[in-house]
Amino acid sequence: MADLKAQIIEQLNLQEITPESIGDDQVLFSKEGLGLDSIDALELIVLLQQHYNIRIANPEEGPKIFQSVRTMAAYITAQQTVKA
């Protein structure tokens, strides 16, 4: 998950944020959490395609997948398992 956090920070150009400062279960899209917005959601979709060759087939799954770093990591692992 540390790698994924580093990739998120780089993709979204999150300044003054380190992988350690992002909690595994911290909510990504809320002011109380990381405070990401809709443009960041698009960036995260591109991140999954670029780094993991994963395309989100059903957009309605987005809110669940991008709830936190842990849910993202779980989705990536599940997709890689399916492909294997």
């Binding site: 150009n13 999150l14 443009i39 698009l42 960036e43 670029q50």
Partner: protein, 354 residues
């Protein structure tokens, strides 16, 4: 109706964002490309928003905020910018990704931020300003046309305060491309010596200058924006001289009424010739100040010149770093800024003390 400059803000290769006496401690460079001295932009922009902003957006937002703060205006009625190059850096990022990734998986941020009106848009978003928002992309007239638009809107009475300014950045890509055209000196020169350089080419620059214009003057207002005029591709120096005479007549003055000329000399012997001819014909005994050795050459550099002219009227003195010829009179009432960009775009801005 008079148009007043109620506040100014400038971010440039000099320490212009810090306030204090005008260009009291000029930065001297020995290079052919000058970059802005950036203030801490976080004083104006939230960390979460700043991460998406390229340098040109940040310098535009910074200069705009400085200008509004100086004028005591929180939300202007209109925002008008001028930029020739726009958001070059993000355009480069987007195009590079497009090529490298074979037009697939393109990220939205660089695309969104690569349009020319991004600066004006971001200023409006940060100020929650829903008023008129326009950007002029007219090469060497971009800044001047932004001012012209602001003057017309103020004169028709549809706004009381307008934020108008010019901004341009230089990037590695653009500098490399423009260098191929022979626009810049072949070897580094000391900026304080560039105006007397005996060679062609100049030094590249960048920056942002914004002005809060209004129809009433505030206690801190020092100058009136008396007039702006442009002349495209004059055939010979006589056309420029005639244009300046006509411009001054339109504003009920003659060359004798001008206390100081501020010219856009940039150290290119070919391009500076016209300034010599104009000065010899119309202003032979006038004091002359220059600014492009301080900010570098870029299409909206006249914004720095107007910012400096306003500062000269405020202090009633020409900073030593800007002096080129003669001594200005003790009372500096009218300042004429005459600039041209690459010999094709000539502009005049007349300021009057108030």
């Amino acid at each position: 109706m008079n148009i007043y400059i109620n506040g100014t803000g400038c971010i440039s290769p000099q320490e212009t964002a810090q306030g204090g006496p005008l260009l009291a401690t000029p930065r001297e460079y020995e290079q052919v490309r000058l970059s802005t001295v950036d203030p801490d932009y976080k004083q104006w922009i939230d960390v979460k928003q700043i991460r998406r902003m390229s340098r040109v957006v940040k310098m535009g937002v910074g200069a705009a905020n400085l200008s509004l703060e100086a004028a005591g205006v929180t939300t202007p009625d209109a925002i008008i910018t001028g930029t020739a190059y726009g958001c070059l850096d993000d355009t480069g990022v987007f195009l590079t990704k497009m090529v490298n990734q074979q037009e697939e998986m393109l990220t939205p941020t660089a695309f969104i931020q690569s349009t020319h009106n991004t600066v004006a848009g971001q200023i409006a978003l940060l100020l929650s300003c829903n008023g008129y928002n326009n950007t002029f992309v007219h090469r060497g007239f971009s800044f001047e046309n932004a001012l012209q638009d602001a003057i017309m809107i103020l004169k028709e009475g549809s706004a009381k305060h307008i934020l108008a300014g010019g901004v341009d950045e230089i990037t590695n890509y653009s500098h490399a491309l423009l260098s191929r055209f022979g626009l810049y000196k072949k070897a580094p020169v000391k900026t304080m010596e560039v105006l007397n350089s005996p060679s062609t080419g100049t030094i590249a620059g960048e920056g942002a200058a914004f002005f809060t214009l209004g129809i009433t003057k505030d206690p801190g207002t020092v100058a009136e924006l008396t007039g702006v005029s442009t002349l495209y591709k004059p055939l010979w120096e006589g056309e420029v001289i005639g244009h300046i005479m006509k411009f001054l007549e339109e504003h009920y003055c003659t060359p004798a009424d001008i206390d100081l000329i501020v010219t856009g000399r940039n150290g290119d012997i070919d391009q500076d010739e016209i300034y010599e001819e104009v000065a010899a014909a119309l202003f032979p005994d006038h004091a002359e100040a220059c600014f492009k050795h301080l900010c570098g050459e870029y299409p909206t550099a006249a914004g720095f010149g107007v910012w400096m002219a306003n500062g000269i009227i405020a202090e009633q003195a020409v900073p030593e770093a800007a002096e080129f010829y003669g001594k200005a009179p003790k009372k500096i009432n009218k300042v004429l800024v005459y600039n041209h960009h690459q010999g094709t775009h000539h502009s005049l801005v007349l300021l009057t003390a108030c």
